[in-house]
Symmetry: C2
Subunit: 320 residues, 2 copies
């Protein structure tokens, strides 16, 4: 059973699944070179010219334990007063490197560019499916407890617009009605002018700790030029983004002793929900402290690390 | 430094504080009987008739490490393009019992009624302050890692309406415009009719696992009669709530081996934001599994424990 159910009050879609992924894989890493048979066939791969099956630089494979299943119709329906549809979607894994232990802060910008390029390819392919409204890239880097520690990221295509993206769109639209400007463009302008929260500025991107950071060392990486769609940025922009992320993650690793972190790409919804007012960006949350129940309970966040302090510490950190 | 800063895109207020509470208190528990000198003077206390200072049944004291400070003006101001005000508010602790180790699932309904009564008293008192828009009760029960394991809860009065409450109000208002009915009243009607997600029904309250539960074993306890304000429920209703919570927490403790949980009372905002369309309720989130970064990243939740399964397991659990 995989069902999308809509919470009727705040209208949040939740996937309810009775198929729990197993806690631990077998001893050998299914993502390491030589173990290609332990994953389903590749959706995308990068190999050097003439490379054998196990001589790859990057692979994209379907997740064996996906959030969604790909086959079937959405079958939107009422269940009493509630709204429900089938849990249809795509869930792929990007195996970012053949090396078991790696980190975005120590990878080469060339390797990191390849990962970002793979995201783009999958974004462009998955959005062709008319059932999907959003493609999300998310990555969890954990020092220890994660199912498979081998560097990888998730690409998820879903038939709904997730709540955070929806809230951003409402906020962007509201602001535009008042100012006829993009709020992210204004935020960038302000952050560059103030400078105290900037961690790293490259040709096309600014990485900064946002003014109202919910979490200690929260980071946003935002393109300087207004663009709704991560999948359509140019090759030079992609390389500059890799350079920026390489430095930001290198400093995060150094400053906070390789903390676990989660990272997500927020890009415009797709199909008829494509929104040219959207300003795509990356959000990053280091997991440096256990959260109390208060944030969950109220949606009100308390952050004991002012972003100005966090940004200074990250600016001054010495990368490996 | 304690500042309330508003995130400009989704308009979420965040408290940024440079005063981090210390990680661990000294060896002896400041909340145990006999250690009254280790807390600031009582705001409220319950003692048996003629009881000495250390013969109390319940105490309410100011938090020594409060989120907010109580003195001062809000001083709302612009900081560049952003919105800011002083971190003014109240932060009190309810020491629920003199016993160091206790649990709502094993306390008597009389003891639990006393805790709920104390919440009410503090709600009614704090809302007199015209600076405050919301009073929140939140409780974290952890089996192990919490600063002070002695059973206590937090009462926080704040000058803003927290995001979750604000979202509920928008949802309630939207629904009312369509149906001219309260959505919580309709949800209750549906849940009682369907019955599969109900955990415990008492004279005035229904505890159930919501249809689109974000978390495994998420629980809502909702009054059957529409009422916006927890602080104004009658004494019989309060006793019935204590009875309901006693059974629900008792079953949770038994079914999931005393899991950590967070609990919050959602009641109407106060002062000029009092909303008679609000339907107050309690939300409870057991912390039975580590959350991935996906929920944070997208606001989209994946829950591998269907609420019908969770409710059945809780219904069938045998309380101590």
């Amino acid at each position: 059973m995989k069902e999308l159910r809509r919470e009727p009050i705040v209208q949040r879609w939740v996937l309810i699944s009775s198929e729990h992924p197993p806690a631990n894989p077998k001893d050998s890493c299914p993502f390491c070179s030589g173990n290609e048979k332990d994953t389903p066939p590749e959706i995308l791969a990068v190999r050097p010219p003439g490379g054998r099956a196990d001589q790859w630089l990057l692979r994209v494979v379907p997740n064996v334990f996906p959030f969604f299943r790909i086959e079937g119709n959405l079958d939107r329906r009422a269940v009493g007063m509630y709204d429900e549809m089938n849990g249809i979607g795509a869930h792929e894994l990007v195996i970012e490197t053949p090396q078991h232990f790696q980190h975005w802060g120590t990878m080469s910008t060339e390797e990191l560019s390849r990962v970002l390029w793979a995201y783009q390819q999958r974004f462009l392919d998955l959005r062709k499916d008319s059932r999907f409204r959003q493609v999300i890239v998310a990555k969890n880097h954990y020092s220890d407890h994660i199912r498979i520690p081998h560097q990888h990221s998730h690409i998820v295509a879903m038939p709904i617009i997730p709540k955070r993206i929806d809230e951003e769109i409402k906020g962007l639209d509201d602001y535009y009605r008042h100012k006829e400007r993009c709020i992210f463009c204004d935020v960038l302008h302000e952050e560059i002018a103030v400078a105290t929260r900037v961690v790293f500025e490259s040709a096309n991107f600014v990485a900064f700790c946002p003014y109202a950071s919910r979490y200690p060392y929260e980071l946003w990486v935002v393109p300087k030029n207004h663009a709704p769609d991560f999948a359509q940025i140019s090759e030079p922009e992609l390389k500059d983004l890799a350079l920026n992320l390489r430095h930001v993650l290198g400093r995060l690793k150094a400053a906070l002793h390789d903390p676990p972190y989660s990272l997500v790409v927020h890009s415009t919804p797709v199909q008829k929900f494509f929104h040219k007012g959207f300003h795509w960006h990356i959000e990053l949350r280091p997991r440096v402290e256990e959260r109390s129940g208060f944030e969950w309970a109220t949606g009100f966040f308390v952050n004991f690390t002012p972003p100005e302090f966090a940004a200074k510490k990250l600016r001054e950190a010495r990368e490996e």
